[in-house]
Amino acid sequence: MKRFVSGLLTALLAAGTALLTSCGGTATASQASSAGSGAPASSAASAQEKSKVLNWVAPGEVTTMDSGKSYDVISAEQISFQADTLYRINEKNEAVPNLAKALPQVSKDGLTATVEIRDDARYSNGDKITAADIVYAAQRVVDPATGSQSANNLTYLKNAKEIIEKKLPVTDLGVKALSDTKLQFTLTAPTPYLATSLSDTLVSPVSKKFVESQGKNYGLNAQSLLASGPFVLKDWNGTDISWKYVKNPYYWDAKNIYFDQINVQVVKEVATGVNLYEAGKLDGAAVTGDYLTLYKSKPDLVTVQTLRMTNLEMGISSNKSLQNENLRKALLYAVDRSELAQSILNGGGVPAAGIIPDGIAVSPEGGKSVKDDFPKLVYTDKKKAKEYFAKALSELGTKSITLRLVTSDTDDSIKTGQYLQNAYQTALPGLKINLANVPATVRFKEMMSYKFDLALGGWTGEYDPTSYIKQHETGYEHNHSQWKSAELTGIVKALETSDGTDFVKRWAHLKEGNQYLLDHAVVVPLTQEAKNYLVNPKLKGYQTHVLGTPIDVTRARFEGGAAS
């Protein structure tokens, strides 16, 4: 009875969560009932071992299964089941050969790279995969006719930018097939992250013959797709919330693929996902909120950091008070990021270590992470913040400052905004923060007009840490603060050109850029996003990464199981 009542109460709490979710927010749920019931689905798992079927989860619908058009994590994750990539990201966030036989052979000037691909790779219809298919895939991404929202991700290739802007034909793209198995990439500038970039499904092989046979319908449903990866998509009608993958018998590495079938179910409500997981209907579930506390000591909980940095951005060009560096520094030091990450975001993020997310790259000497190797410049010091604020008030000749903080109207953004309002007003008496919770599109429009005081924004890079520094470069469109600095421009220029062949110098410049931005408090880094999952403890061999897809289960297996 006691258990029933406690379960009922937590169910009601989950109902509150449902309301938040319905408002477009990220759910934080609390439903303890089944979480306390011990290990999930062990019987179901043992039954699955025999059938080699994985019941996996997706937190939302797939916006596209067309590898050339994907721009979001959910789609990229699903596409990676059925689209092979030249390189794969391993547990250490390094690119390792996959469809490519070895890492790219880069010329001395760093502007040309050759890649040899496997000669035994085939599509799911048995057709051979050739270097020309990679060339076609890349051309298709930058072709304005495709309308890919990720076309900019290929601007490391020569002429990509001009092709995207319709100034050159797609055939001028810096990639060509030297033979059936040999590719040559011509780069805009030396690109030290080339191999990781080529692990993106955007440059997965695409059969021109197949695409042309499908016409406008290409990629719109399971029948109009051709798999080059370990699985073949089935039963997906384009907007489904459940679909499946079956093993691709033609896949070159099929012997290392354990699962015969992977069923994917979209579950948006966290409580429902956890209930299904506990009932053995799913082998994975996304979790947030109080569930993290419930599963904290259990082997099921898996946390993966992503490349998403949440920052407090400042309209430096539009607000005179914010042009005062002491005021910006007061904002930098007054916020407690650990409290924000743990109490407000409930583990949905970790305190930011700097401008660049931890895990995106490691130092060339010693392989140290950003967090370990960069000077610790982002921290909480309320006393220091107060001193800076007092200086700012005196320099500005005022006793109080009022700033408007615009955030999106999602649950996490609203809560973060309220937290910042309270934290700043408490730590810095005389500072008033007015909150404006608006739809994401409205917030973004304000930021892109460069007319705002404070905004809860952020940046998600791809594979190149430079983009986090470049975001604040003079003249860059997404430099929302409109910060102008010749020094920073110089650092970015070096990162984008000469540093491409000197990794030590490059790391030093990344460090320098990070230090410059924090010394001038151009932006206030808050948190690095973390995603949390429950994963069946019997599932082994899956990989988690900061780069690419958060969890890769394509080569996973149940404990004791072997691929055949």
Binding site: G7, A15, A18, T64, S150, L220, T239, K281, A440, K445
Partner: protein, 314 residues
């Protein structure tokens, strides 16, 4: 008689088309004021790329031109593409999902109304007894409790605790529909019970019922054939919009039970500036509503002989 019907039908169809056109026009104009772009990856797009994309999707044209093109397209059955779902036809997006929402909506409307009518009738017949109090209390709670609370409670009790029904998903046929239907039916059930109780009390106390009772007519016959028929008329007025609202899905209930309906699209399409999905959802809802209102008017005439086409009492 036949001509009068044809005239009535023609006039109503014209009004319906006119109503839809006005709704389409107003929505299209309002939609053009939405800030932002329909591109989900907008924070990574350059101005030049936005221009290229706008050109591809015809969004660089003036509003009036886009409006005329859209009107022409929908008259030819082309409702455009969804930009959330990378170039999927809006008709595919809704077509894949509308059936699920409609099934749940119709089941909920039928179940909720029937049970509501029974509860309301019993409450009226047992006026001022504990049964009446119970039914009234149920109606108040049912009307006040948000459907997400009801949905989570039902899921917890029947699926998690008792394990007699699925927690969610759309893979067990009719069994998968039971809990979402129940969650959706609470509100129409409460509404119907409240309406029928009030109407029945009035009808059962009227002179003609007293007269029938005096003539020795059985209570059941009296309630079903005389009382209920009159009490149903005001209920029909509210039942149409309720049914349409249920048929077009519920974001919360569909998410909680992980069913592939269209409920979420109402908010998601607006939040993501998915222009053609917004239009299609509006047209779908409006078309269902005008058709249901039309059917309601016809139903009035069947239930109440005093109502005649065009107000003709002859």
């Amino acid at each position: 008689m036949k001509n009068r019907w044809l005239r009535f039908l023609g006039r109503r169809l014209l009004y319906m088309a006119l109503t839809l056109w006005i709704i389409v026009t107003i929505t299209f104009l309002l939609m053009s004021f939405l800030p932002g772009t329909p591109y989900n990856n907008q924070d990574k797009l350059t101005a030049a790329q936005l221009q290229v994309l706008n050109q591809k999707y015809g969004l660089n044209q003036p509003v009036w031109q886009r409006y005329l093109t859209y009107l022409n397209n929908i008259l030819h059955g082309d409702f455009g593409i969804s930009l959330q779902f990378s170039d999927q036809k809006v008709t595919t997006l809704l077509g894949n999902r509308v059936g699920v929402s409609m099934q749940l909506g119709i089941q909920a409307a039928v179940f909720g109304t029937v049970v509501g009518i029974v509860l309301g009738t019993i409450a009226a017949m047992k006026h001022n007894t504990w049964i009446d109090t119970f039914c009234s209390l149920f109606a108040i709670v049912g009307r006040s409790a948000p459907n997400f609370v009801v949905a989570v409670l039902l899921q917890f009790v029947f699926a998690v605790t008792l394990g007699v029904l699925p927690i969610g998903l759309w893979n067990e046929g009719f069994r998968s529909t039971v809990l979402p239907t129940l969650a959706l039916s609470i509100s129409p059930m409460a509404d119907s019970a409240r309406f029928i109780r009030t109407e029945m009390l009035e009808v059962l106390n009227s002179d003609y019922i007293e007269f029938a009772r005096a003539k020795g007519m059985s209570e059941l016959h009296l309630v079903v054939f005389h009382g209920l028929r009159n009490a149903l008329i005001p209920l029909i007025t509210i039942l149409g919009p309720i049914t349409v609202s249920l048929m077009t899905g519920s974001l919360v209930v569909e998410n909680i039970f992980a069913v592939p309906g269209i409920g979420e699209q109402f908010t998601k399409s607006v939040l993501t500036n998915d222009y053609y999905t917004i239009m299609a959802m509006t047209i779908l809802f409006s078309a269902l509503l005008v058709v249901v209102i039309f059917l309601t008017d016809i139903l009035y005439q069947i239930i109440d002989p005093r109502v005649r086409i065009g107000g003709d009492r002859s």
